[in-house]
């Protein structure tokens, strides 16, 4: 009866409509949707409310006001700083993209020696905490740092002259942030190169086009949308970034929006939540606008990346002697992405007080900062807090996104809603989410304010979109029939999930957990908003030590922590290779 009407739909499609009719449902979907809503909606509402109200000085009464928004438009600061943000982000994105494309092209399209190691060091570099990474670059480019010393000896400048390169400037910010994004730009762009069907280029050659013509008319236009998408992504993430603006921009008096929000909340007494919230909403609006363009660019890029046919790997370009030059370029990248940042902090950590590289300084090497660091209760506590944060955030995020992704991939009733809701948090820049959650925690009766748990929950919200993408891809690889075979064998749905689905997607989930661990513990912007005085995590501790001028201790802690994180990122690299999942 039912089937008779659907069959008349014609052709081979009848079973699809029949399948759609039998949509499975589960109460768990609605529970998960409710949890996701509870994660996303309150922060947003509190942010909105805070931006429209003034609190009396004793903190008891609220009065409705538009002042914060009027301030936004009358005080030129907001637009000036938004423009600063844009300028800094555009510069960094361009910098990272150019370096990333060069690296990806050398690795994917030529026969340069050593090219197989670029993936490894790109992934390993993810282990360096953002604060530490920024600090080492400041040391490298600083007034008395090695870069300016070398440049001074070349230009023959006198000790009193201004430095060749002033790191505390927008240029310093662009270089540091740009180099920081280079590994990710490389990983994303090289996957663009590998996922584009080689026969597109071969068809051009067979049409009579020379190598140069093919590159200009086919390779570049085909890669353009994807490279553009990566550029927009880096632009957005830089726009949201906090570490470089706080460590380089603020002392250099180059202010961007994220630094403003931080200043209003953490460096103003009493905290100016109203203005911060208005700024935060403004920042969010800009980010949402850019995410729209990002979505359009990725859709266009995906159209170009349909892999069909036999997938011949294109023959790499034989470079001849030139390949030693390209190898030298790769070594240079390795230097700038790993060696320079690490050597600066390693050197500093062994010196009694900060001094530049010199042979004389070799006599004063000492391990006292390491001893001091490991005897400090504060440091030990923040190491443990960081581990709690990393493990807690990654496990929670993975477990939660796995279940959401399952319902979504298997098209349960309401599954699409889970997918949408779990992707929603990407509209919150970390610093904005920090302010918003702060408002939530201050206003709810549960004692979450200032706890490690509050940072974990914040991180889960922040990283669920990433977890979702990994889990989604993992479950997509499990064919429905594998589950159906289990059901036919008599297993109940729960049993099927735990005995068939889980084992098959475990590698993907492990990769995902490691990735989230890495990004959760290296970031500063969310913890600095949420951490209380007794619940510091390492990134925050490092930041305050640096502000206090305790440089060698900062470096000693940083070196130890980075060594540990590099092991984690190497495991991530190995597991990721095995499972075929890389960084997104």
């Amino acid at each position: 009866m039912e089937s008779a009407t659907t069959v008349s739909g014609g052709g081979a499609k009848w079973w699809r409509s029949a399948g759609a009719r039998r949509q499975r449902s589960s109460w768990l979907v609605w529970v998960l949707a409710a949890i996701l809503l509870a994660m996303v909606v309150p922060p947003f509402l509190y942010l909105l409310q805070t931006s429209f109200y003034n609190r009396s000085l004793d903190g008891t009464t609220l009065t409705y006001t538009l002042d914060h928004y009027i301030g936004l438009f009358t005080n030129p600061r907001f637009f000036e700083h938004a423009l600063n943000s844009a300028w800094y982000s555009a510069g960094s994105a361009l910098f990272a993209i150019v370096l990333g494309v060069i690296q990806a092209w050398i690795v994917e399209r030529t026969n340069t020696p050593l090219r197989q190691y670029v993936f490894l060091f790109s992934v390993i570099s993810l282990g360096i905490p953002d604060v530490l990474y920024t600090v080492s670059w400041i040391l490298f480019f600083g007034r008395s740092g090695p870069f300016n010393a070398v440049m001074a000896s070349i230009t023959g400048a006198n000790p009193g002259d201004p430095a060749f390169f002033d790191v505390y400037s927008v240029w310093g910010m662009i270089v540091i942030e740009g180099v920081g994004w280079t590994p990710l730009a490389f990983l994303l762009i090289s996957s663009v190169f590998t996922s584009t069907d080689a026969s597109f280029e071969e068809a051009s050659t067979m049409s009579g086009a020379t190598v140069r013509n093919t590159f200009r008319r086919i390779t570049l236009p085909l890669a353009k949308p994807a490279v553009l998408a990566v550029a927009i992504l880096i632009f957005i993430r830089t726009f949201e970034s906090f570490e470089v603006p706080a460590l380089v921009g603020v002392p250099g008096k180059f202010y961007v929006l994220t630094a403003d929000i931080f200043t209003e909340v953490n460096r103003t007494m009493p905290p100016n939540y109203g203005v911060a919230s208005a700024f935060a909403l403004g920042l969010m609006l800009i980010v949402i606008g850019m995410l729209y363009f990002y979505g359009r660019a990725t859709r266009r890029a995906e159209q170009f990346q349909t892999i069909t046919g036999k997938g011949y790997r294109p023959r790499p370009l034989m470079l001849g002697k030139l390949r030693y030059a390209t190898a030298a370029i790769l070594v240079l990248f390795f230097f700038f992405i790993i060696v320079v940042p690490l050597s600066m902090i390693v050197w500093t950590s062994f010196q009694p007080f900060y001094r530049s590289f010199s042979v004389a300084a070799l006599d004063t090497l000492t391990v006292k900062h390491y001893i001091a660091a490991f005897n400090s209760r504060e440091v030990k506590e923040s190491i443990f807090n960081t581990l709690y944060l990393g493990v807690g955030a990654s496990l929670l995020t993975v477990a939660f996104s796995m279940i959401c992704a399952y319902f979504s991939v298997r098209r349960y009733r309401g599954g699409w809603l889970l997918d949408q809701l779990a992707t929603l948090p990407i509209i919150f820049p970390s610093i904005v989410l920090g302010v918003a959650l702060l408002r939530v925690y201050l206003n709810i009766p549960i004692a979450l304010y200032g706890t490690v748990l509050s940072i974990i929950l914040g991180s889960v919200i922040r990283y669920i979109p990433y977890g979702m993408r990994y889990a989604y891809a993992g479950i997509m690889q499990v064919h429905t029939e594998l589950e159906e075979a289990s059901s036919i064998s008599g297993a109940r749905q729960m049993t099927t999930f735990f005995r068939v689905v889980m084992p098959l997607i475990t590698p993907a989930l492990v990769t995902c957990a490691l990735f989230i661990f890495l990004i959760a513990v290296r970031s500063l912007s969310l913890p600095i908003m949420l951490a209380g005085p007794n619940t510091q995590v390492l990134s925050v501790t490092l930041y305050f030590y640096w502000l206090d001028g305790r440089l060698p201790v900062t470096a000693a802690i940083g070196v130890s922590w980075t060594a540990f994180m590099m092991i984690v990122s190497t495991i991530f690299y190995i597991v990721g290779r095995r499972t075929g999942m890389s960084v997104r």
């Binding site: 026969s199 597109f200 071969e202 068809a203 049409s207 020379t210 008319r217 069909t308 046919g309």
Partner: protein, 374 residues
């Protein structure tokens, strides 16, 4: 027209062990011919095609197009793909998604270095070519909005716009569904006949090869194992591999007692008795023989019926029907002949023969092929 001499290409896998490839292919393609390379996956047919295209560099050998070397390992000649003047249709079609239909088809004319054409000439030429493949109405459509069949037509048009000396087709129909495939097959044949372009076609589908080709080269394990017209290949296979790969076949083991020359008939002793068979290769006395015969070439009738007039007296055997399968346009019987030799017979349906009936089967001697056992 195209001459392939001793083409050799060995692939090496990532861990250093030798992979597939082509090991000494020799053949010639005549002007206007549709020549097919047929074989299972990994037999080297695509490698051969890509070597002709210049997308793969052979280890050694010689390729000549119109008596001019395009590749010669002895003389160190390797003309780059873009200077070979060869058109190619890819398995994935490789229609550039960032261009319209017109831009795709016009590309070879725009990038060509020796034939400069004005914009008007290009437009006219592209329109004409798109018309021959039935795509003239889609000329300004973005390539991303084309169906599989339309992409296929466009890929063909693009390969033909600059009127190449040679057209290469790499499994062009394998991504289409069954109905469309048959339609495109007919269209392909029509176009090839109309344009007269010399073509090399690669496929693993034997029915496609039989329907399209002037000549077929059957490949296996990197070597050409038989080369001939579709009829020769089908009716006179020279090896068990070819007999099995192209259509269903029966195989009966046996041996010969005397030397037999090529293209001669001789008796082969088998478990069911002596069989008069046709020899496609010279075979020495005492050799183990495989006799192959296609199911549709075997005559079958009820045992008590009188044999039709003119049927040769040889190769008649009694048997019992073990199984009967009705396949619509044909009926398939499994007949046990002698003690335990099973023979598959295909015939038009409607014969009054059923399971357990005694039957008489007859193997026509000129369709009963004797091969050296592999």
């Amino acid at each position: 027209m195209l001459k392939v001499e001793n083409l050799w290409k060995q692939y090496v896998t990532e861990d250093g062990t030798p992979g597939g490839g082509v090991f000494g292919a020799n053949f010639e393609v005549a002007e206007g011919e549709l020549f097919t390379l047929l074989g299972p996956s990994g037999c080297g047919k695509t490698t051969t095609l890509r070597s002709i295209a210049g997308l793969e560099e052979p280890d050694r050998g010689r390729l000549a197009l119109n008596r001019v070397d395009i590749f010669n390992s002895d003389k160190r000649v390797a003309v780059p793909s873009y200077d070979r003047d060869i058109g190619m249709v890819f398995q994935s079609y490789a229609i550039w998604p960032h261009m319209t239909v017109f831009e795709n088809a016009a590309y070879p004319l725009k990038v060509s270095r020796n034939k400069r054409m004005s914009a008007g000439e290009i437009r006219a030429k592209v329109q004409a070519v798109l018309k021959t493949v039935g795509m003239e109405d889609y000329i300004d459509r973005p390539a991303t909005q084309l169906s599989g069949g339309q992409q296929q037509r466009l890929a063909l048009a693009r390969a033909l716009t600059r009127e190449p000396k040679l057209l290469l087709l790499d499994e062009p129909l394998s991504n289409l569904d069954a109905q469309l495939r048959e339609q495109m097959r007919a269209e392909l044949l029509r176009l090839q006949r109309e344009t007269g372009v010399t073509s090399i076609y690669v496929t693993h589908d034997q029915s496609e090869a039989l329907a399209l080709s002037d000549r077929i080269a059957v490949m296996n394990l990197g070597k050409i194992v038989q080369l001939g017209t579709p009829k020769e290949i089908y009716q006179r296979p020279t090896s068990e591999f070819v007999a099995n790969f192209i259509g269903k076949t029966n195989l009966i083991h046996g041996n010969v007692h005397a030397n037999v020359g090529v293209n001669a008939s001789a008796k082969v002793s088998t478990p069911i008795g002596d069989l008069l068979a046709y020899f496609t290769a010279a075979i020495p006395a005492g050799a183990r023989i495989g006799v192959v015969i296609r199911p549709e070439n075997i005559d079958i009738q009820a045992a008590h019926a009188a044999p039709p007039a003119g049927m040769a007296a040889e190769n008649r055997f009694e048997g019992v029907v073990e199984r009967e399968v009705y396949l619509g346009e044909i009926e398939e019987y499994t007949v046990v002949v002698g003690k335990d030799v099973r023979v598959t017979v295909r015939t038009s349906p409607g014969k009054p023969i059923g399971v357990n009936d005694k039957v008489m089967v007859h193997f026509p001697p000129d369709r009963t092929i004797a091969l050296i056992e592999e």
